[in-house]
């Protein structure tokens, strides 16, 4: 039984209702011929017929660039002033089940040992509205990593598209239920009779992939330096596109910017695919070839995340596959790894 029904025409009412309570409304909009998650202005038209936004919405919880402190240097010494994260009530509309599942993984990293409040405070104030997928493309592979177009993990509210020009609304978490109640004016409590959920797009499971076997294989140290890695990933050019669109990649760097005597300390996204990522001050680089960097990303997804946090490193959204300039398809590597003893 649905908890409500939202007519597509009433989406703007929901946006207005969120804005009236001081929240920001993040939704897919079309920018430069792409569907992109963006904090919407009232004039922005929300895109509806998309497969997946180009970017992951992680950037609204873990901004690509963020000042964490300000500094000034005086004759008497250095003055450092910390900056708190500006955590606002945020609604993410139009997430897909794959990327919603990534939130548990991000939270695991940002609360591991040290609580990174700039993440947790933002996530606590975020409501994720996921729209179950009715379309997909050949890069989608959620079903291969154990998810599906209706997985609810990570979502607070789930929408299902119908032929009645609107969505069936389901509360998934308590936060989601509270959100539905807080914006009760935007939707009708009962769905029209002809509102039947549309058939979902189910990407075919890639038969040759065995996630469990990949995990087992990556645990064995003698596979770490095998030539297979270089053979499979030699074409990687070492850009960071895959990591920046990935909903579970989370690495960052701290850098100081500004003039000689004052400036900001910023936290910027970084990528394990860059050769400077592990470059030591001595000049030594433990990952001195691109295949070693690529191996790291693969290990992170299928070994570090599952082993350390028991969470998914890869959610099968396929963004890295779509964006790669040399079409280094992670599922092809997964398939090869499943085949090998």
């Amino acid at each position: 039984m649905a908890d409500g029904f939202l007519k597509k025409d009433d989406l703007n009412r929901l946006r207005a209702s969120v804005a009236a309570k001081g929240g920001r409304f993040v939704a897919p909009v079309t920018v430069a011929r792409q569907t992109v998650f963006k904090e919407t202005a009232p004039s922005d038209e929300v895109a509806l017929g998309y497969i997946l936004a180009r970017n992951s919405y992680k950037e609204f919880l873990f901004p690509q660039t963020e000042a964490i402190a300000e500094f000034s240097i005086h004759r008497q010494g250095v003055e450092l002033r910390g900056k708190d994260a500006d955590a606002r009530d945020t609604v993410i509309f139009g997430a897909r089940p794959c990327e919603a599942a990534s939130l548990a993984s991000l939270r695991a990293v940002f609360t591991w040992g040290f609580i990174d409040e700039s993440y947790t405070k933002r996530e606590d104030k975020t409501v994720v509205i996921t729209v179950a997928c009715t379309s997909g493309d050949d890069a989608c592979f959620c079903t291969t990593v154990g998810l599906s177009p209706e997985s609810a993990a990570g979502s607070d509210v789930m929408f299902h598209e119908t032929d009645a020009d609107g969505w069936l609304v389901y509360a998934v978490t308590e936060k989601g239920r509270a959100f539905i109640e807080a914006h009760a004016d935007a939707w009708s409590a009962a769905a029209p009779e002809d509102a039947v959920a549309r058939t979902l797009f189910m990407p075919p499971v890639i038969a040759g992939v065995d996630i469990k076997k990949i995990g087992e294989r990556l645990k064995k140290k003698d596979h770490y330096d095998e030539p297979l890695w270089a053979e499979l990933t030699r074409k990687c050019i070492g850009c960071g596109a895959c990591t920046y669109v990935c909903p579970t990649c989370h690495c960052f760097d701290i850098t100081d910017e500004g003039a000689a005597f004052e400036g900001e300390r910023r936290k910027n996204w970084d990528s394990c695919q860059y050769d400077s990522f592990t470059l030591h001050a001595s000049g030594h680089n433990p990952r001195d070839a691109q295949w070693k960097r690529w191996r790291n990303r693969f290990m992170c997804k299928f070994n570090f995340y599952p082993e350390k946090f028991g969470s998914k490193g890869c959610v099968g959204c396929g963004r890295c596959v779509r964006v790669c300039p040399v079409r280094l398809d992670i599922t092809e590597v997964m398939e090869e790894m499943s085949k090998r003893p």
Partner: protein, 297 residues
């Protein structure tokens, strides 16, 4: 053509003339091509040739790819436009002509982006460079595969990039500034433009020089502007308009516009087009008493 290409690759590997053939192969579903590195003659049949072969593979000849260099002497499958980049690498002392075997492919054009391919190569899915291509018959190659193309490029270059440059040239400086700030605002600093570029071969990019941080790594307007402008300036007189940076850009920044504009400026100032002659040095790395000094006012 594919058959001839495979036979040539096989022969080069069997005779030991080269240790690796850098070419194109299918992905699993045969919907996209991607770079492949063939080291065994029996694998030469993996090579393919079709209008989806958009990548400029000459990037793999640069010193960024030490592990590929370690494989031994390469042969490279290259379109005429890709060869222009190899020529620049030669003039900049990055590659010696005798150290690479160039398998030149005569070319009828490629798709702008592979996802546009619907089984037929139409002008509207081709990049601007293809409509104005003067190197469909590869010039500097050890072997040429394919029938000679009779295509002659139009006298006045045509296509979207040229039209847009005209429109941008007609803008006021303030409008132009706003246009580019808007475009750069999307930059996510993934550096795909740099990594895919055969001419961005610095082992230590200026963005990686962090004592002090010359180019801000932050993806804020100032950091994005300094990155994109610095990269554009480093390509002046060198860029061949291969279009890889724009193709690789995940956020659709029209880098081709900047690069083509630079090409026009260099051509006006020095009557020079990069990548045609491996004996001539690019204008930015030589001083000639004949250089125009009209910019000094």
């Amino acid at each position: 053509m594919e058959e001839q290409l495979r036979n040539k690759a096989k022969e080069l590997l069997e005779t030991g003339c080269v240790k690796v053939v850098i070419g194109y192969g299918w992905n699993r579903t045969k919907t996209r091509t991607a770079p492949v590195f063939i080291t065994r003659p029996e694998d030469a049949d993996r090579l393919v040739w079709n209008p989806l072969c958009v990548n400029n593979l000459s990037v793999y000849l640069t010193r960024k790819f030490k592990d590929i260099q370690a494989l031994g002497k390469p042969a490279i499958v290259a379109k005429g436009c890709d060869i222009r980049n190899i020529v620049v690498l030669i003039t900049e002392a990055q590659v010696r002509r005798e150290d690479v075997v160039i398998i030149g492919m005569t070319c009828g054009g490629v798709v702008y982006r592979q996802e546009l391919w619907k089984g037929e190569l139409k002008p509207e899915i081709m990049p601007t460079k293809c409509a104005n291509c003067g190197v469909r018959n590869p010039r500097v190659a050890d072997f040429v595969i394919g029938e000679r193309s009779s295509f002659t490029p139009p006298e006045a270059p045509t296509g979207m990039v040229f039209d847009k440059i005209k429109a941008i040239d007609a803008m006021t400086p303030a409008e132009r500034w706003n246009f580019w700030i808007g475009e750069f605002s999307r930059c996510i600093k993934c550096y795909a433009c740099r990594q895919v570029c055969p001419l961005c071969y610095c082992e230590r990019c200026i963005t990686e020089k962090n004592m002090p941080q010359w180019i801000e790594t932050s993806a804020h307007p100032r950091g994005n502007l300094s990155w994109n402008l610095t990269r554009a300036m480093h390509l002046v007189g060198r860029c061949t308009f291969c279009g890889e940076c724009e193709r690789a850009c995940p956020v659709n920044i029209p880098l081709n516009l900047m690069n083509q504009k630079m090409i026009q400026v260099v051509d006006e100032a020095f009557a020079f087009k990069s990548g045609y002659d491996e004996k001539t040095h690019p204008p930015m790395i030589v001083f000639s008493p004949d250089d125009k000094e009209g910019f000094i006012k």
